[in-house]
């Protein structure tokens, strides 16, 4: 296997590791930094793939990821966390062991889903597709188990990292116009998340999503109550 392919595999595996780290990280500031590292690893995969295949537009993609996922979004999140004074807030997991076990199960499942692709294409990409699917699903798991709005947004953004990795590894990146569109959507989503944090904070004075759903529950109970 060529050296570049091996490097891509190692970097992708490290990105998967950061996905687990994000899942278990309870302190927000540290989690944001972990997310920035994940972005850097994914951007490095894109640049290396670009070098291996000679696709110039992959360098552009790597640069977009670097600015967006490593610099801009972590910076915006840090600023929001400071503004809402959440720096010292910890958000412990309910069942850390169970969550990490579920994460391991997700990795095995992703490998199984990616198996048809392996029959089809014998190159190193197969493992990277499995890894990227695992990162997407781990991001989803993170959004389910974490109750803190900022942590949920990190899960959302980690999913985007996984999707980008899948596109780079399996197909040498989507067409540039699509990638620009996706990056634009991610950026707008981040701005909107920021607006939401402020709205949630103003309305319930906390960013704990559990409290948000408790507020709506009387409405739901009302729904299921006996009709007159």
């Amino acid at each position: 296997m060529p050296l570049l392919d091996q490097a891509v595999l190692v970097l992708a595996a490290m990105a998967l590791f950061t996905a687990f780290a994000l899942l278990a990280q309870t302190r927000l500031t540290a989690a944001i930094n972990t997310f920035a590292w994940q972005g850097a690893l994914v951007a490095a995969v894109a640049a290396l793939t670009g070098r291996a295949s000679g696709d110039a537009h992959l360098y552009v993609s790597a640069l977009i990821t670097l600015t967006l996922k490593v610099a801009l979004i972590p910076w915006m999140l840090h600023r929001l966390v400071r503004r809402l004074s959440l720096e010292r807030q910890a958000d412990p997991l309910q069942h850390p062991a169970l969550t990490l076990l579920a994460g391991a199960g997700i990795v095995v499942f992703s490998d199984w889903v990616a198996a048809p692709v392996a029959h089809f294409d014998a190159s190193a990409t197969r493992n990277v597709i499995a890894i990227s699917l695992a990162i997407v699903l781990l991001g989803m798991l993170m959004m389910v188990v974490r109750r803190q709005a900022v942590a949920q947004v990190l899960g959302f953004m980690a999913m985007e990292n996984g999707l980008f990795l899948a596109a780079v590894a399996s197909t040498h990146g989507m067409p540039l116009v699509v990638e620009l569109g996706v990056a634009f959507d991610v950026l707008v989503a981040m701005v909107l998340f920021g607006v939401f944090f402020l709205q949630i904070k103003n309305s319930i004075d906390s960013l704990d999503i559990d409290r948000l759903s408790q507020l709506a529950e009387p409405v739901e109970d009302d729904e299921r109550g006996d009709a007159p």
Binding site: P116, V117, S170, T171, P175, G181, A189, Q199, A216
Partner: protein, 491 residues
């Protein structure tokens, strides 16, 4: 070409223009004018496509299937804009929304229409994804427009659930692109072009395509409101402003289903010679039937009027999904017709519901009473709208449901039973709620409001016309779309 630009880019220009405009009074009228301009473009485009066949070019393509939804989108956009101009002024006078909020509303209304029309006219599956995600981004701040805790909760749920769902669709798109790389000569140039992929679909690797389709169905299915990914839908519909509920139900759900149908066409062609040729159809039938039945049961004993009708939307989207899943010309024709009549009826109902909640100043069903005495136009509008949506003859929904049932009877006879039961259960749930709202004794101190029933009358008359006698032109048009999807003509 000019028609296409006029249709799609009028709303984009409108979004920027209305974002900069300060006067709320002018904004309402301008919003209406822009929608009318876009509809004129859409009709021109439709005439073009019907006369000369598909209009295609660099990364866009408009054929019989998409142009029919383009016209529907522009039409419902216009009628809802007619309703929203006075309604949003009233909401503003009630101090429920600030001047800035009103500006955001008008700007994002156009932004939402832009994403819908872009999704329908693009040929690039990546742009399709970007546009459908853009629709979420455009509407999410409108769901929380009233800034109540419940509205913020609904908007957060909408944002997170649709974000997660749509991410699955992007993964599916990447997988599809991966399959395309091995089938196309020059994947970098047109690897995500739907028409290029459709031309080589039999050479797409079937196993990879099945994986891709499952992800695409789950992803876009979240936006269609298929059970079990539907839980954002009733919240977003009930907490957002009423014009938003009308366009979400009438347009967004349709466009998401359109994306699913396009993917099904690719998957069917790719799997034709594999061991499981009907995988896509069976998945759609399963999801559609479950959504239909769950929604029919959820319609019982609702307390919030907008929630009631959003469950009815899930029910009808389930029926359409089921219809496309059954496949074959008859079922597909029925599903296409159902898309049309459901969008017209449901947006008319939401407009009426907007007036009804304005009259009784609440969304709670048990406090909305005696509409027909207080304001006969609104009472009759609600009654006729519900009769149409429940599938009474002679309305168009009866026709499409009847066609769908006959198609099911031919292909899967025993599935007709759950469909019939579901329709009856849904009917019972709707009428138990609506009957007292329309005929009950009006509470003292309830006065008529200024209501513009023109859009409702127009849309319900159209639905009636479609039920009594489907115009030849439209039948021919739907038949062309059917031919495109199934490869065979019905008529």
């Amino acid at each position: 070409m000019i028609a296409l630009l006029l249709t799609v880019f009028t709303p984009l220009a409108g979004m920027l223009l209305l974002g900069a405009l300060r006067s709320a009074r002018v904004a309402g009228w301008l919003n209406l004018a822009l929608c009318a301009l876009s509809l004129a473009g859409a009709l021109w485009l439709a005439a073009d496509v019907l006369a000369h066949g598909a209009v295609a070019g660099d990364s866009f393509r408009v054929d019989a299937l998409s142009v029919y939804l383009v016209v529907l989108t522009a039409l419902v956009g216009l009628t809802t804009a007619i309703f929203s101009r006075p309604y949003m002024r009233y909401v503003h006078e009630e101090k429920r929304v600030s001047r800035g909020g009103l500006r955001l509303y008008h700007s994002m209304y156009q932004g939402f229409l832009f994403t819908m029309l872009l999704a329908l006219t693009t040929d690039n599956l990546g742009i399709l994804w970007v546009a459908i995600e853009g629709a979420t981004l455009a509407t999410v701040l409108l769901v929380s427009l009233y800034r109540t805790p419940a509205a913020i909760e609904a908007a957060w749920k909408y944002f997170i659930l649709c974000g997660v769902g749509i991410a699955q669709a992007l993964f599916g798109t990447v997988t599809l692109y991966f399959a395309a790389q091995h089938a196309l000569a020059d994947p970098a140039a047109n690897g995500l072009s739907w028409s290029a992929l459709y031309a080589v679909a039999p050479h797409l690797e079937p196993r990879v395509m099945s994986v891709a389709f499952v992800f695409l169905l789950v992803g876009y299915g979240t936006k269609v409101g298929l059970v079990p990914m539907h839980s954002w839908l009733p919240d977003a519909h009930s907490e957002g402003p009423t014009p938003m509920s009308a366009v979400l139900s009438g347009l967004l759900l349709n466009v998401a289903l359109y994306a699913v149908v396009r993917m099904k066409m690719l998957t069917d062609a790719a799997l034709a010679r594999s061991a499981t040729p009907d995988l896509a159809g069976h998945l759609l039938m399963g999801f559609g039937l479950v959504s239909f039945l769950v929604a029919a049961i959820s319609l019982q004993r609702r307390r919030d009027i907008k929630r009631l009708f959003s469950y009815s939307s899930i029910e009808h989207m389930g029926l359409m999904t089921f219809g496309f899943g059954v496949g074959g010309p008859l079922a597909t024709f029925a599903a296409l017709l159902h898309m049309l009549v459901h969008a017209l009826t449901k947006s008319a109902i939401f407009i009426t519901v907007g007036h009804a909640t304005h009259i009784s100043r609440t969304q709670r069903i048990d406090r909305i009473r005696g509409l027909i005495r207080t304001q006969p136009a609104v009472g009759w509008g609600l009654l006729i709208g519900v009769a149409a949506i429940a599938g009474f003859p002679p309305f168009g929904i009866f026709t499409s449901e009847f066609l769908l049932l006959s198609a099911t009877m031919q292909a899967w006879p025993w599935l007709t039973l759950p469909l019939m039961i579901g329709l009856v259960v849904a009917f019972a749930g709707l009428f138990r709620a609506v009957q007292p709202m329309v005929f009950g004794a009006a509470p003292p101190g309830q006065y008529p409001v200024r209501a513009n029933m023109l859009p409702v009358i127009l849309q319900l008359a159209l639905v009636l016309l479609l039920g009594i006698a489907l115009p030849g032109l439209l039948a021919h048009w739907l038949d062309q779309a059917t031919q495109l999807i199934t490869g065979r003509h019905l008529l």
